[in-house]
Amino acid sequence: MNIFNILDSIQKIDGDAIKRLEHATRRTFMNRIGSTLAAAAVPTAFASIVSKAYGATPTALEVLNYALTLEYLENEFYEIGNATAGLIPGEYKAVFAQIGQHEKAHVKFLATALAGDAVKKPTFDFTAKGAFPAFTDFGTFVTLSKAFEDTGVRAYKGQAGNLISAPNLLQYALQVHSVEARHASIVRRILGKITNDKTTKGWITNDAGFPGAVYKGEISESNVVQGGLNVPGIAGLENISFAAITEAFDEPLTMKEVLDIAGPFIVSL
């Protein structure tokens, strides 16, 4: 099962799925960017639809197609952004050009590796039906870039365990995962600079950030229990802030959670 088959099967299970998804999309994303209220909103209709069709542990092939889908999304986002005159200020062009190069390379690698089994590129709408001035406002572009990169980091991390018996694929996934994290760090710092917000740093503090679904989830970014240990209670960390402890560990997202985030940007499969 790949994620598009999943979406197909969702439609078969629930004929109203697409309408409900559209409703959820509007409700979630029409909220003003940066609003903390909006950060808490999750497209619950989509989440509940997906959970009906979803459950089993994915195969390596399914994991790679899932990764390819996310890379398609990122690649097209930067292709358009980098080609849009007047969007990216001169001082940041080199950064986004480099990110775009990497996403293009990731798509090429995964599509080549999957060959005939590769899913097709979906049709994307980065404005989420007009909710986002994705390519006309640099602040919005950077906000979406940050959301996609942080989601990418969490998405790859969530699949590492599913590749444990395929060591080479696991290593490739890790090698892409850390590149997404390098991207996320600089994009977050650029967002912090252009919004003059010192609390938006290269690392994720607590579960702060927009959209909220990118930073929360089954295991929230504010999680501090690691390997069964409550980290703030560990000896030697008495002088370390709770916020710093949350920053020190990135957390995974499930496939379903990632689909919730990506869904509003996917027009058709």
């Binding site: 590492a160 290269g202 690691q226 390997g227 069964g228």
Partner: protein
């Protein structure tokens, strides 16, 4: 029942404990208590320490000790950076380096607590090649440590047997990559250097992944103790 990381280690790898030689615990050798502050290069014990091999061990415990060794090194480095800030350090640089220091201390103490009695000893760093008053020297070393950390975790992942430990390594490596990106951007602001072609392949967009026998000799010059890794999985 939820098992802790430590429970797993103790139950599955207790034979490793015997290999940790406790006789050579020279805690006085420049290693101060909980926050791990250390006295740079002021040790007559260095020669003594240098003679003792610190064995990382086998299996997942060995890999976790490998990570613990690298985190000890990183934490000690950033503690020194903030104790004696370089000339002309900016507010932004200080904020970033302070955050990174705290993250590395968290990683270090976490591994120490998780490994319990299987943990290797406190290592004595040797930063004599770094000029802590010089920005380029400090940020250059930070770049080296962060990129090396990323490459080390990426290369160690496939040797980890336990999915829980693999996830833990994943949770930490992306934070190291975030650090690497920020440090590199301080060195060459607003360029491609944050994920430069020197560390990320242009063909596939892959970060580095290097095995312990490549990583450890490259960090050995920064540690007084000799680190033994012959039992690590290959």
């Amino acid at each position: 029942m939820k098992q802790t990381l430590s429970d797993n280690l103790v139950s599955s790898d207790s034979q490793i404990l015997a290999k940790v030689n406790r006789r050579y615990f020279l805690r006085s050798a420049g290693v101060a208590a909980a926050t791990g502050a250390f006295i740079l290069g002021a040790c007559t014990d260095h020669d003594l320490e240098g003679d003792k091999i610190v064995e990382l061990g086998a299996g997942d415990v060995g890999i976790l000790n490998y990570a613990y060794a690298l985190e000890q090194l990183e934490a000690a480095f950033y503690i020194q950076v903030l104790t004696t800030p370089y000339v002309g350090i900016t507010a932004e640089e200080k904020a970033i380096l302070t955050d990174i220091r705290d993250h590395e201390i968290v990683h270090r103490q976490f591994f120490k607590a998780a490994l319990q009695s299987a943990a290797i000893k406190d290592l004595t760093p040797n930063f004599s090649s770094i000029n802590f008053s010089d920005r380029a020297s400090v940020l250059g070393a930070a770049k080296l440590f962060e990129d090396t950390g990323v490459q080390a975790y990426n290369g160690a992942g496939k040797f980890i047997k336990d999915a829980g430990y693999l996830l833990l390594a994943g949770k930490i490596v992306s934070v190291e990559a975030r650090h690497a990106s920020a440090i590199r951007d301080l060195l060459m602001p607003n360029t491609a250097f944050f994920a430069g072609d020197d560390v990320v392949t242009t063909s596939d967009g892959f970060d580095g992944a290097l095995p312990p026998p490549v990583i450890l000799p490259s960090v050995q010059p920064f540690v007084v103790n000799k680190i033994g890794y012959s039992q690590l999985p290959v």
